[in-house]
């Protein structure tokens, strides 16, 4: 099987992301240049726009919410369950589970990752690495949103003949939290929808769904 076929899911989403970023840049530039013309100025270039704080904050505010969504889904599904959902495990397995069930330490198989066999700090970190990295990406992109949003918001304030804010003041500002919450609510709705709809609905051939003939009450079954 060729490289493209083996990695088609990742490659497809990376291409979609690149296309969407270009689309966002072109649409944002057109919007910005409408305002430039209203000011009696020439249009700005694509390069100027994609290096501006307003483009950066629009990108970062969406990234942080996506990473938060996956961070929470990964960590909360350790303990919280939804009977009948392929996104959940069986209620009796709630929690971090035993070393035997997780195939770590002396229960590791020959083909298990080295850090799963290692135990100690390495084993502890590797056992939570997916959630930790998603959480770290969330913190980094949320911080980037706060810095880029601070710069963009201060530019808007000066345009309204108001004084600029310190970063601390911006962190407590309505703009910071409006941008944050409007992204969070949509991510939480999407996860809740996926968890619940996948109890009763099917997508033949997709591992995100239960097999078409699986009973509605079957949990932790992927097609």
């Amino acid at each position: 099987m060729g490289f493209l076929r083996r990695n088609s899911l990742t490659l497809c989403f990376l291409l979609l992301m690149a296309g969407a970023l270009v689309g966002q840049a072109l649409a944002g530039l057109a919007d910005r240049n409408e305002r430039q013309r209203a000011e009696g100025a020439d249009a700005i270039s694509l390069g100027e726009y994609v290096t501006s704080a307003s483009y950066a904050v629009d990108v970062a505010e969406n990234w942080q919410s996506e990473y938060l969504q996956f961070f929470l889904l990964i960590f909360l599904t350790v303990w919280l369950v939804q009977r009948g959902s392929p996104e959940s495990k069986e209620p009796r397995r709630a929690g971090a589970e035993s070393d035997e069930e997780q195939r770590v330490g002396r229960h590791a198989a020959a083909d298990s990752p080295e850090w799963a066999r290692a135990g100690g700090l390495r084993g502890l970190v590797f056992s939570r690495s997916l959630g930790l990295v998603m959480g770290a990406f969330f913190v980094l992109s949320w911080t980037a949103q706060s810095v880029a949003g601070w710069a963009a918001h201060n530019s808007d304030r000066l345009a309204r003949y108001e004084d600029d804010l310190s970063w601390g003041e911006y962190l407590a500002s309505p703009d910071m939290w409006n941008r944050t919450f409007q992204n969070w609510q949509s991510e939480f709705l999407a996860v809740a929808s996926m968890v619940v709809l996948s109890i009763y609905l099917r997508q033949r051939g997709s591992p995100e769904s239960k097999p078409v003939g699986a009973p509605h009450g079957a949990t932790d079954v992927e097609g």
Binding site: E39, E48, A53, N154
Partner: protein
Amino acid sequence: MPDTARGHAVSALLTVAAVAAACSVRDAGAAEAATALFAAVQRGDGRAACAALSPKAVSSVETGGSRCPERILTLGLRGGPIHDVRVWGDRARLRAGEDTVFLVRLSGLGWKVAAAGCRPRPGRPYDCDVEA
């Protein structure tokens, strides 16, 4: 210090110096536009004063059929030493003596004064004699 580490340290210092220089050049452009406005008003050169304004600010000055070069000289703009320059993207705010000035960087035009003769109002935008 090994050569590689020294090289990195020099690169970092050069980067910091370049960023600082870029910021000061950027600030200087806004300060120059404000200085040009007040200097022109002081010597009674209304045409040069209006050239320092953004197109929208020029329109706002031209009220009731009066022309910008005449009207700008009647607004009592005094200015003073430039200090406390803040630049955020294509917007800037600076103090010129007791006066507060807001500027906009327009593509093809450079820094232009968007508002001048501004006084702070608690909890509200500045009140400006010239305002785009």
